[in-house]
Symmetry: C2
Subunit: 108 residues, 2 copies
DNA sequence: CGCAAAATTCGATATTTTTCGAAAGTTCAA
DNA sequence: TTGAACTTTCGAAAAATATCGAATTTTGCG
């Protein structure tokens, strides 16, 4: 009974909710400078400032305890803002480019 | 003891929190098509789709009871997303262009 | 295997948010 | 000035959220 517009509204509300917590927003901003895993480093240093960040690095950089961090990361993922990929014991996080594009388009 | 970057993060978190509720997001989207009060209507119909919306119109369009609506509007205003201006018995709402610009710049 | 590292889940608590109806405050018009 | 229209505030209850420590799971390594 709900049309696409309403679905969109619900989804964007989810996205903004994910970004509404300062800790989560910091995680998001920390990840925005990363590249997706598998990215070939370019000669241009601006192309990718840092390698991809695993969960532990985020916790260390932002001083969030593991359980809280894990919760926030789950929320960001639930909103479709970030994706994850295991690399051995670590799990890398990176921004979902599709969702990022959708949010950019939202304000236009 | 907090620098500008942290202040910015807190402020944007506030903004996203204001947009994180479906009702508030609908209010925001309803107002995005309005013009600020005092705008001279242009010949170009795309210039300003609707006149400015007062609180009551928003409640009618979006089917939100007055007390709930008033609460949500206050949240949007607290975040700096909307501004208001009394016009007789009614109170007009409109998007704050500065804040809108700031949010657009956030995703860039 | 057995241990350490990394991350998640569980359980619990304090706080915040959402929503509504009732009441109160403003403004205009008769 | 009295009443109606419009909006806000107040009070309250249910639901959601944020945070942490303890326990658990998953992975790699010696």
């Amino acid at each position: 009974m709900s049309n696409n517009r309403d679905d969109d509204i619900e989804w964007f509300a989810e996205i903004f909710k994910a970004l509404s917590n300062p800790n989560r927003l910091k995680i998001f901003l920390r990840l925005i400078t990363c590249c997706p895993p598998g990215t070939i480093m370019n000669i241009d240093p601006d192309h990718c400032e840092k390698g991809c960040a695993c969960v532990g690095e985020l916790g260390q950089d932002l001083e969030i305890v593991p359980s809280t961090l894990s919760h926030h990361i789950k929320e960001l993922r639930r909103a479709g803002l970030i994706r994850m990929q295991r690399r051995g014991q670590k799990v890398d996080c990176f921004i979902d480019p599709e969702t990022l594009k959708a949010v950019k388009n939202f304000f236009s």
